[in-house]
């Protein structure tokens, strides 16, 4: 029971953190529009994609746990 509660707690936390990181990833990707140099655009794109990837990964993993165990 306690282990189950811990699992839900961690999934809830990851859910929020994932969204937070994803938000920053998207903003950095948007910043490409405001960047003048090619190297700057490339760097913003890569950094934004990395952040978005991490955010999406955390979010999806958390949702999976919450869907599976959250209702039990």
């Amino acid at each position: 029971m306690e282990e189950h509660a811990e699992k839900i707690k961690n999934a809830q936390i990851n859910n929020v953190l994932g969204l937070f990181v994803l938000f920053f990833g998207i903003v950095v990707l948007i910043a490409v529009v405001f960047t003048d140099t090619t190297i700057g655009k490339q760097t913003n794109t890569v950094a934004g994609l990395i952040l978005s990837g991490i955010g999406v990964g955390m979010f999806l993993k958390a949702r999976k746990v919450l869907r599976k165990d959250g209702s039990t």
């Binding site: 707690k9 920053f24 910043a31 405001f34 960047t35 913003n44 950094a47």
Partner: protein
């Protein structure tokens, strides 16, 4: 110059941290939740938290500044110092601390030695953290002044407000979990800066060639091991004895902010693995913090203060968006160090001072409230003492100097406490008091004892030796505890006792 989108990222980051703090409030319903996160944290979150709280703002600004002045030798702090110490902590010390069910390192010292040792160690850490907060606030002010021209007090109050609120409400759950986000942003922002810095300087080889050609004073900039007569604070003898043998171990094993995170682990395996993973992540830190400082020697050769190297590198070379991200990464480092100290100080005060001496029979809710109030008081104290650190030439060295005063003696007590069952309560007390006293003497008369500037590594080594010798001598002259009192506190004592009993039975 920050663009609109950079301001947006910074403001969103700050607002997000505040929001997370309020969100984590729902996970705090007891003092165990507030101080140990309900002992339910996974290893990866703890590992990221340990790394990010250690790297902090001091490393971003201070170590880049050290690299600008002295070259790559400060990398020893992570590669030769922290990584072996973290592995030692993971496999020897942390499992014992976790199994003992303690909240603080002084609590372990209290069980192993006596309550006087616990109180003295706890008060020392509380005083250190309280003043360290001021140093950290000052680091943020240096950064913000260089990059944005913000008044010192504005940046201090802004940082204090955000960190104070999420730590106050969310306790260590907020501390650890915001650190996870902070580490992700810090690593992405940091590696991006390193990539762009090398892109502009023409790569590693070009940078080495250009720096070496700048004059004889740069000939040792790429030597990891410095000679004993080096003008830097990092001679190899100090690195080996002071850092590797003492300070790194003392920091990773005896520092409340580090160990408290491991104590939040959901089980012993997670506690151990958190340190193993943290050691792995720690190996990347010199790349993040040193390399921008080195590139700055070529790109910004006439800085009057090395601590300005990193802020100006960010300003010069990062594109819009990433400036904001890196700026947030700096805040991340700063906030993770601040939140750790706030929560650890609250834990030390509540568990080691308030509960045993002021109100023994309080309810759990009462101690939770005390922890929150202490968090607020310490934050205000840190704000008020921030200007003190401006009188030190280098921010990072200032903090190491403070640390070297008592890290050595406390590590001596932990080392003997866990490995030598003959260490007695009076031996521990004498070792701690005389060890700290010796640090103060060595620091005050450092000109007469040492030939290098800022000899904090030597001070920590000799204070460790003094603490160790005094504890051993006094222990041999006083009565030790019986084995039953030391069960679970001394390395493999239970196994050794059982083996001895079996052998006794066989012989009989």
């Amino acid at each position: 110059m920050l663009h609109g989108i950079d301001y947006f990222i910074v403001v969103a980051y700050m607002a997000g941290m505040l929001g997370l703090g309020f969100y984590f409030k729902k996970f705090v319903s007891s003092s165990t939740d507030y101080f140990l996160g309900g002992r339910s944290m996974p290893f990866w979150a703890i590992a990221m938290s340990v790394v990010v709280s250690d790297i902090g703002a001091l490393d971003f600004v201070g170590v880049s500044g050290q690299a600008y002045r002295f070259g790559i030798s400060p990398a020893n702090f992570d590669w030769i110092g922290s990584v072996p110490a973290m592995l030692l902590a993971a496999f020897i010390f942390v499992p014992y601390f976790w199994k003992a069910g303690i909240f603080t390192i002084p609590e372990y010292l209290g069980r192993r030695y006596n309550s006087k040792v616990r109180t003295l160690a706890s008060l020392t850490w509380i005083i250190f953290f309280a003043f360290n907060l001021g140093v950290l606030f000052w680091a943020s002010a240096v950064f913000l002044e260089a990059i944005m021209g913000w008044p010192v007090w504005l940046s201090i109050l802004l940082t204090a407000g955000v960190v104070g609120i999420y730590t106050f409400f969310g306790g260590i759950t907020a501390v650890v979990m915001t650190d996870v986000v902070q580490m992700i942003i810090m690593f992405v922002g940091g590696f991006t800066l390193v990539f762009l810095a090398f892109y502009h300087v023409g790569g590693w080889d070009a940078m080495v060639q250009k720096i070496t050609a700048m004059g004889p004073e740069y000939k040792n900039h790429f030597e990891l091991i410095q000679p004993t007569d080096t003008p830097t604070p990092f001679p190899w003898t100090g690195i080996l004895f002071g850092l590797t043998f003492v300070m790194a171990n003392a920091y990773m094993i005896g520092n409340q902010t580090v160990v408290q995170r491991c104590l939040t682990a959901k089980n012993e395996w997670h506690a151990k693995m958190s340190m193993v993973m943290a050691a792995f992540l720690k190996m990347f830190i010199p790349v993040l913090v040193l390399f921008p400082g080195l590139v700055a020697i070529v790109m910004l050769p006439d800085l009057d203060d090395g601590d300005k190297a990193l802020p100006l590198m960010i300003k010069e070379f990062l594109p819009p968006g990433l400036i904001g991200l890196m700026f947030s990464a700096f805040f991340a480092g700063l906030m993770s160090s601040l939140d750790s100290m706030l929560n650890s100080t609250a834990t030390l005060w509540t568990k080691d001072i308030y509960q045993p001496y002021i109100k023994k029979d309080g309810t759990d809710h009462h101690y939770l409230m005390v922890g929150k109030i202490v968090t607020a008081i310490i934050l205000l104290f840190g704000i008020a003492t921030a200007p003190v650190s401006s009188s030190f030439p280098g921010i990072y060295v200032a903090i190491q100097t403070f640390l070297s005063f008592f890290q050595g003696p406390i590590f001596a007590l932990l080392f003997l406490g866990i490995f030598w069952k003959r260490a007695t309560q009076w031996g521990g007390l004498a070792g701690l008091v005389i060890g700290i006293f010796s640090s103060a003497i060595l620091h005050i008369f450092s000109d007469q004892f040492f030939t290098i500037q800022d000899p904090f590594l030597y001070v920590s080594w000799w204070s460790f030796v003094v603490g160790l010798v005094v504890t051993i001598v006094v222990s041999l002259l006083t009565t030790p505890y019986k084995d039953d009192k030391l069960m679970g506190l001394v390395y493999r004592l239970a196994e050794r006792t059982k083996k001895a009993e079996l052998q006794g039975g066989t012989n009989a």
